[in-house]
């Protein structure tokens, strides 16, 4: 019996929830789960609230479960008290649902802004503060960064987010699944495919529907194109932030090729609103296939030379190697996914850890490195882009014929579903409960960056202020994705 089994046994199982179990637990079991998280026996995958209940997704290798604690008095024992990665999720749940985490060391609001906001303190001779944002110098999303620095050296960084809070969860409640899928696709624009996929997969699981094989294959094709385009973008921007514009220009050109191919293939450069509950809304025709194949071939032609330049440019390596190190222990504790975790020795990719169709039938590696620095995060992206090229080949070659869409069955009573889909940044967790009329009762979407942002703060300590943009870009955490 594992820790997770004990927790599942101790509660009462909700039958209409899939594919992983959801159990209603009591306070002692909830606190035991918190202790197991703090001890590193379990990994936190999400924590969210609704009226009078708090939910927490926890996992161990290859398995996960949702624990639900009823809290009619709107109070529950804080998980963040012993396991800091839960803190911001608890603050968000408090802002959105009024659920109070008892004993939490951080009672400040998170998504709902009210000034003044007390930043964490750093005291000592020679320390000064630098306040940056929410409006930044570049074309990026808004967030505030508060540095405490001693000369050039950063002593403490604290991020304040929530600026793009749009009330996503409240908007989804009561919406049709079709409308909610569109909202899901607008939680984080660079991951529109992954979010829409995670949401519809949760809905389809709740309804016991399997979308047609061709639709599933096309979803994966879009997801890999999205991953590829984003990785190309990120590699280029990291080089740009190290003042190496040459590679930025070349990677940006390759990325533009991918977006244009996506436009030809699916009619939208970012492939938005194409994944719908039940299937996909657009088929892939011959010109689209050719465009994708041509973009892939162009990348393969340029790739060895560009990677070689990244490897051989001393001025670039000087900036990226050893900068912004995430320690493996911290990545594990935080349950950091995506290239952030995989660059720091945490081997977790939702496509491999909780395989979903069609990845269960595809061949790909999950690259992992140990260094945890900016360089490692770039190299993980390089390796993953290569894997995506191979996956695109496989997906195009094995595209089955058949329908694109299966009509959604009626809900027939309460139905709950969950999905874990690997976006380019890491795993997106989608949890949904449907009403009997098929509309969304409650949906929660958890971006990978909830567990990556705290690592930015940890990684930058002791680095110089001038390396922050470079370091931050190597994480490229979501703003809108976590601001909800």
């Amino acid at each position: 019996m594992t820790q997770l089994d004990d927790l599942i046994q101790s509660g009462s199982r909700i039958e209409c929830h899939g594919p992983w179990p959801r159990v209603v637990v009591d306070r002692p079991a909830w606190e035991a789960a918190g202790a197991a998280l703090a001890a590193g026996e379990l990994t936190l995958l999400g924590l969210w609230g609704e009226t009078e209940t708090v939910h927490m997704a926890v996992g161990e290798t290859g398995r996960l479960a949702v624990l639900s604690l009823p809290c009619p008095d709107r109070r529950y024992p804080s998980i963040g008290r012993a396991h800091p990665p839960a803190l911001r999720l608890e603050r968000a749940a408090r802002d959105l649902y009024g659920l109070v985490p008892e004993g939490s060391p951080d009672t400040r609001p998170w998504l709902i802004h009210a000034d003044p906001y007390p930043f964490l303190e750093a005291e000592g001779p020679g320390l000064h503060q630098i306040a940056v944002g929410p409006v930044h110098a570049g074309i990026i999303e808004p967030g505030h960064f508060r540095f405490a620095a001693n000369g050039e050296t950063i002593v403490r960084l604290e991020a304040r987010l929530g600026y793009t809070h749009k009330g996503v969860e409240a908007l989804m409640a009561g919406a049709t699944v079709e409308a909610a899928a569109q909202i899901a696709g607008r939680v984080s624009g660079d991951s529109t495919v992954a979010y829409a996929w995670a949401f519809v997969q949760a809905v389809e699981t709740a309804l016991g529907l399997k979308s047609p094989p061709r639709a599933i294959q096309l979803r994966a094709l879009m997801a890999e194109l999205e991953r590829l385009a984003n990785h190309l973008n990120d590699i280029g921007f990291v080089c740009n932030d190290a003042a190496f514009g040459l590679l930025h220009a070349h990677f940006a050109a390759l990325r533009e090729g991918v977006l244009r191919a996506a436009d030809t293939a699916f009619g939208h450069r970012l492939m938005r609103d194409l994944i719908v509950p039940g299937g996909v809304s657009k088929d892939l025709a011959a010109p689209g296939k050719e465009a994708i194949a041509a973009a892939v071939a162009a990348i393969r032609r340029q790739w060895p030379l560009l990677v070689e330049i990244y490897d051989d440019t001393a001025s670039l390596q000087d900036r990226t190697v050893g900068t912004g190190i995430v320690k493996t222990g911290l990545a594990r504790q935080d349950g950091a996914g995506g290239y952030v975790g995989r660059a720091a020795g945490r081997n977790f990719d939702a496509r491999a850890a909780f395989p979903y169709a069609p990845y269960d039938k595809l061949r790909f590696d999950v690259p992992v490195r140990e260094e945890g620095d900016v360089d490692a995060r770039v190299r993980i992206r390089i390796a993953e882009a290569e894997q995506s090229l191979s996956l695109i080949d496989q997906l195009l070659a094995g595209l089955p014929d058949g329908p694109l869409y299966a009509p959604l069955p009626a809900a027939n009573g309460p139905a709950e579903g969950m999905a874990l889909v690997e976006a380019f940044r890491g795993d997106v967790l989608a949890w949904v409960r449907l009403n009997a009329d098929g509309t969304v009762a409650r949906c929660h979407l958890r971006d990978a960056s909830w567990f990556q942002w705290p690592l930015v703060e940890a990684a930058i300590e002791g680095n110089i202020v001038a390396d922050f943009p470079l370091c931050n870009k190597s994480f490229n955490c979501a703003y809108s994705g976590v601001d909800l």
């Binding site: 409006v135 809070h165 984080s188 220009a249």
Partner: protein, 178 residues
């Protein structure tokens, strides 16, 4: 790296030149944009972007304007780091309550004459977030808007087309500002 640089010298640039044979619309657009920008602003237009709660898709396409295919800089149009250097404020997103003040302060920091462009569906009317109490629902709720560029997100070509429309209006004297 030498090989890459040499390749760059020997091959045609990726930048789609104003008369692109296979993309007449973009060619027309870029040529006209260059003319209008020169007349009105002495060939320089400085843009400042504020993301007022977008999902970041609009930012992706605004960033794409700088890639070698579109190369916005060649028209004398560039994104600047400070609102104090900007002629034009591009705003994306449905204007969240949490960004409204930062947006107004950015606008106030810009010297006159200044223009505001609402970029993307959310900035125009709040898009699918319009009925959320967490957003104001479009840039016009916070600032006077001179131009809207629709799209979710607008493509780089649509963005260029929109900037052109604004410059032409400015040329025609329809939007004199003090």
């Amino acid at each position: 790296m030498r090989r890459l640089l040499l390749d760059g010298l020997l091959h045609r640039p990726l930048t789609e030149p104003p008369p692109v044979p296979d993309d007449a619309a973009l060619a027309e657009l870029t040529q006209a944009l260059a003319r209008a920008a020169r007349r009105r602003l002495g060939r320089s237009l400085s843009l400042r972007l504020v993301d007022a709660g977008s999902c970041n898709a609009c930012e992706l396409e605004l960033n794409a304007l700088g890639n070698p295919y579109y190369d916005l800089d060649r028209f004398g149009i560039r994104f600047v780091a400070s609102p104090r250097h900007a002629d034009m404020l591009l705003v994306t997103g449905p204007v969240t309550r949490n960004m409204a003040e930062a947006l107004r302060r950015t606008y106030d920091a810009m010297p006159a004459p200044k223009w505001v462009v609402a970029v993307g569906g959310c900035a125009i009317d709040g898009g699918c977030f319009a009925r959320s109490p967490a957003v104001l629902g479009g840039v016009h709720q916070a600032l006077p808007v001179d131009l809207t560029i629709p799209g979710c997100p607008p493509s780089p070509t649509a963005l260029l087309r929109g900037l052109l429309a604004l410059l032409e209006q400015a040329d025609a004297g329809k939007m004199e500002k003090t």
